[in-house]
């Protein structure tokens, strides 16, 4: 196979087409014509003219960091927040160094000084609890080293899981801002620029907790600041996919002014406090969604687990036929926590008989926690204690705003 970028002549349609070889696809050679178009042709019609031209490192704009601005740290996990297009080959490459990101997102340098660390380069569906731990450790180290705010770039699929995980593992005195983009960073319409600028503004603000900053609407007008333990991706593709549950977003960043406004319940920066890290996680924890017709063997797949979060119906139910199976899990030492598929509202297993039976079986009400937040929290709680009663106490106590004692009435 020839190298990408090789100059070739393609004998096609009675003419000699000058082109660059790009790649092979389904048995065809994909070539880029002078006009910029790619076409797939029979590899046999290609004649090599010259090897790929060695591209001189062109004049790269030197990025100046302004020493009078606060210092932020950008930690990349693999979400593409900035990319470049190589128009020669059409390749899109992600940018990770602070300078490259600043070059790709003009305006960033007016907000702060940046340093950067690449923690992982993975699709967010491939995120693991082990990487959450590394991430929390790395955020902790950056704060210890003087970063006045942290930006974590992350793929959007599991961004809220990671934000919740870091929320529980790390007690942070400065803002830890998760940010991503819903529309790829190569496109001129991408939400990456506005989200990143807003995340930098939030990271220099008076916040002192883990948050997610993403578009609040389909317009390029406002980014919402979501609490890391109350946020969820609610659309596969829209810019405003991220929504807070049980609490309004704790702040906003206006665009293009980048004015940050924080609500009264947003946790504030604590400049004199050291960060605290408790990064142990129990990984024998599961999350299962109940559905009508669910059979007992699905639950028994979790036999031997230390914890199981059930994503139940309504106020927090499974079918009565499964109550006994959950009881046997509890009796064997599994902490079982009930959450609701409704996402909005509190679990209350005291209203209906099935609920009361679940309580008798030893199932713990997960209050207003989002199912995946309860899952992450249970991993962390069981990582901190072997005492079941203490685990239950922690699960039913709000630690990072994952639920509140009173429900917002929505007015």
């Amino acid at each position: 196979m020839m190298a990408s970028g090789t100059e070739v002549i393609c004998r096609y349609a009675g003419a000699d087409l000058e082109a660059r070889y790009i790649t092979d696809r389904d048995g065809m050679a994909v070539i880029k014509l002078k006009s910029g178009y790619n076409i797939g042709v029979d590899p046999a019609c290609l004649t090599v003219v010259a090897p790929p031209e060695v591209v001189k490192a062109g004049e790269v704009t030197v990025i100046k960091q302004n020493p009078s601005l606060p210092e932020l740290s950008i930690i990349s996990t693999g979400g593409t927040i900035a990319s470049c297009v190589d128009h020669r080959t059409g390749a899109v490459t992600s940018q990770f160094t602070a300078e490259d990101i600043m070059r790709a997102i003009p305006g960033l340098g007016d907000i702060a000084r940046f340093r950067s660390a690449v923690l992982a380069n993975i699709l967010s569906e491939n995120m693991t609890p082990a990487i959450w731990q590394t991430l929390a450790q790395s955020v902790y180290t950056e704060i210890k080293n003087g970063a006045e705010g942290i930006i974590v770039t992350h793929g959007t699929d599991t961004m809220s899981h990671s934000a919740a995980a870091v929320s529980f593992m790390l007690d942070t005195p400065v803002p830890v801002v998760f940010v991503g983009s819903q529309r790829s960073a190569d496109r001129p319409s991408s939400d990456n620029v506005m989200n990143t600028l807003a995340s930098a503004a939030a990271a220099t603000s008076d916040l002192g907790e883990v948050v997610v900053v993403m578009h609040a609407t389909t317009n390029d007008d406002i980014c919402a600041i979501h609490r890391g333990t109350r946020v969820r991706k609610m659309h596969t593709s829209r810019r405003d996919a991220f929504q807070s549950f049980g609490v309004a977003p704790i702040g906003t960043v206006a665009y293009p002014s980048l004015d940050v406004s924080l609500s009264s319940n947003a946790v504030r920066r604590r400049p004199d406090t050291e960060p605290a890290l408790l990064a142990t996680l129990e990984d024998k924890v599961g999350l299962v969604t109940f559905y009508p017709g669910m059979q007992a063997d699905v639950l028994h797949a979790f036999d031997g687990y230390r914890g199981l979060v059930v994503n139940g119906t309504g106020l927090g139910h499974v079918s009565s036929s499964l109550v006994g199976d959950l009881k046997s899990l509890v009796d064997a030492g599994t902490t079982v926590v009930m959450t609701s598929q409704c996402l909005n509202g509190r679990v209350c297993d005291r209203v209906y008989e099935t609920g009361r039976d679940l309580l008798s079986a030893g199932v713990v009400e997960g209050d207003a926690m989002l199912p995946e937040v309860a899952y992450v929290k249970l991993m962390w709680v069981l990582g901190q204690t072997n005492d079941t009663e203490e685990a239950v106490r922690l699960m039913t106590t709000p630690l990072r705003g994952e639920f509140t004692r009173s429900s917002e009435n929505g007015f």
Binding site: L17, R25, G36, Y37, N38, G40, V60, D220, P256
Partner: protein
């Protein structure tokens, strides 16, 4: 003005953009219907930014669009979806559209691309919500009977329609568009028109393209020897295409003569510009008086050149003004046209003095905010330097009547990268050769003349008519071609002129009516009133019953006999000469319910018996 085009070395090529009348858009399942902007049911706004390339370089066309960073507003409709909003990935490429474009390709003897790859072409003028236009090269190298070569045919998505300034309407975004590019093989304005017209005919022959103003647009590439390649976009009417070519040749010839004169004068452009805001503190010009900043630049040796006409309604100054407008200013003033617009002779004199301009020099001023003015002066300097080099390569937009204004530099090839959300499509040789090619409209017109006896003009009108398919169906059902053609063209046109909504009359109803006329159950005379009633929403059965209930020969005969009896004396006196006057009486009595031929036949028969 006409030129010796061969001597000037005119080379022209065209790009034809034709909207396809597919059921759905190219990359989503929305219908391909255009809407009235007042019907929009939502709007949103976004910013677009050119993505930097690997080398830190930005496409020159994209860079220029970026100079003014402003949000674009988009109107959404109940016939558009999240795909147009750039909030959802595209669907696979619409196979109906690809099929149609491959049909065009085959009609022009082109070779299809074996594996079609969809590309993203960077466009950040706001007309695409994504900031790119999806486009795919589908076939290469064909030719037309008159010899012009077809370089390529692409299938791309139509852009959003600009409502005004920075507002765009999403109904049009995503309608499939065929882009046909010819080689620069045309050497006269007339040849350009002929090729454009032939390709238009060929596309229409499929009966599957959109019709009406704006559904087909020509971009014309024009250059002359020593000139430069200039692309003029958006020629929507074929009748203007020759004028566009003529006027562009005139522009390039004029620019070359300006260049020669500037070189002879050793003209130069000052590096420095001057802040002359203070000079116009008390000016009578409203624009200058309220401007925050006024800057001037001196173009040495340019006197008289900036104001010289280069094509109807356009001067070198207009070109400079187009460049300046990219910075958001309204325009410029130059001393070739001053004093005027409230600027006095004294002010001009002090302006000249301020920039140390001699009588051979031209001074240009721009008024706006300081930032915009600095930007604008920079571009004016650039354009003035270009004037000394001749004709710049540009993308231009057509103005009314065929002149043109600067839009942006010609884009480089550097604007494309793969659309990774859409899989490539394989075109097999079997599939390509199985495509059914339509009869060309020109061949069809010949056939109408030859086989149906239509006269050439009527045949030509018929093949270009929306009702052509109906016409053929009607003839197939036994209706006389002339009756069908006259009804579908003249009668409908006449009714339309009278204000009837003939578009509302269905093909089925017209077919039904013409068959009834042909078989004699409805009189020919009733066609017009019946269609008028149909255009007002009436039911065909009810209309015919009310207006022209079927009348038997015997009933007609009865009416005739009655008429003859009533006019006994007249009949005896006039003899057979009474046919004419009695025809009118009987026709009136029957109100078009019987065919005139039958009435005339029976009337003569009955008169014969009496006389």
């Amino acid at each position: 003005m006409d030129f010796d085009y061969a001597a000037l070395g005119l080379k022209a090529g065209i790009e034809i953009h034709q909207q396809l009348n597919t059921r759905e858009k190219l990359f989503c399942h929305c219908p391909t219907v255009l809407r009235d902007v007042t019907e929009h049911n939502g709007e949103f706004y976004r910013y677009l930014r050119a993505t930097v390339s690997e080398m830190g370089e930005m496409d020159r066309a994209a860079r220029e669009e970026m100079m003014v960073m402003r949000p674009f507003t988009y109107y959404a409709y109940d016939t558009t979806c999240l795909a147009e909003n750039d909030e959802e990935p595209p669907t696979p490429m619409n196979p109906e559209a690809l099929d149609l474009v491959l049909t065009f390709a085959r009609m022009m003897g082109m070779t299809p691309v074996e594996q079609v790859h969809i590309m993203r072409k960077m466009v950040i003028d706001g007309s695409n919500t994504s900031g790119f236009q999806r486009t795919a090269l589908v076939a290469l190298n064909g030719s037309l009977p008159m010899g012009a070569r077809i370089e390529s045919i692409c299938l791309e998505e139509e852009a959003a329609q600009r409502v005004e300034d920075t507002i765009f309407s999403l109904d049009r975004l995503g309608i499939p568009l065929a882009e046909i590019t010819t080689a620069p093989d045309m050497h006269t304005p007339e040849a350009v028109k002929d090729v454009a017209s032939y390709i238009g005919m060929l596309l229409r022959s499929t009966m599957k393209v959109k019709r009406g103003i704006g559904t087909i647009r020509q971009d014309v590439n024009i250059s002359i020897r020593d000139g430069a390649r200039v692309e003029i976009k958006g020629v929507q009417e074929l009748r203007l295409i020759e004028e566009v070519v003529r006027r562009e040749v005139q522009r390039q010839v004029s620019l070359l003569s300006i260049r020669d004169e500037l070189l002879a004068r050793h003209a130069s452009v000052d590096e420095a510009s001057h802040d002359v805001t203070a000079l116009f503190k008390k000016t009578g010009s409203a624009i200058l008086k309220r401007a925050k900043a006024i800057h001037a630049i001196c173009l040495r040796g340019f006197a008289g050149m900036v104001g010289r006409e280069i094509q109807p309604g356009r001067r070198l100054g207009s070109e400079m003004s187009d460049y300046a407008k990219k910075c958001g200013v309204g325009g410029l003033f130059h001393t070739d046209e001053l004093p005027a617009y409230g600027v006095t002779e004294a002010e001009v004199a002090s302006l000249r003095e301020a920039v140390n301009a001699g009588p051979d020099d031209c001074v240009i001023i721009v008024a706006d905010t300081k930032q915009k003015v600095v930007c604008a002066i920079g571009l004016i300097r650039k354009r003035a330097e270009m004037a000394m080099a001749g004709v710049p390569e540009e993308t231009r937009k057509m103005l009314e009547e065929g002149s043109s204004a600067y839009m942006r530099p010609l884009p480089g090839a550097a604007r494309m990268y793969p659309e990774t959300d859409v899989l490539p499509v394989t075109v097999t040789a079997e599939y390509y050769s199985s495509l059914v090619l339509p009869e060309l409209l020109s061949d069809k017109a010949d056939r109408f003349v030859r086989d149906m006896g239509l006269d050439a003009a009527l045949a030509h009108q018929m093949v270009y008519s929306k009702r052509c398919v109906l016409f053929e169906e009607t003839v197939r059902r036994g209706v006389r071609p002339t009756l069908a053609a006259t009804t579908l063209l003249s009668t409908l046109r006449e009714l339309s002129r009278d204000g009837a909504d003939v578009a509302a009359v269905s093909d089925e109803a017209l077919l039904d009516l013409l068959v009834r006329v042909e078989t004699g159950t409805v009189a020919k005379e009733a066609i017009l009133p019946i269609i008028r009633a149909l255009s007002e929403g009436a039911d065909i059965e009810a209309t015919i019953d009310a207006m022209a209930p079927a009348v038997s020969r015997e009933e007609v005969r009865a009416v005739i006999c009655q008429t003859i009896i009533e006019r006994d004396a007249f009949v005896r006196e006039q003899g057979m000469r009474a046919v004419g006057p009695l025809m009118g009486v009987v026709m009136k009595e029957l109100r078009g319910r019987a065919d005139g031929k039958i009435i005339s036949e029976l009337l003569k028969e009955e008169l014969g018996k009496v006389i």
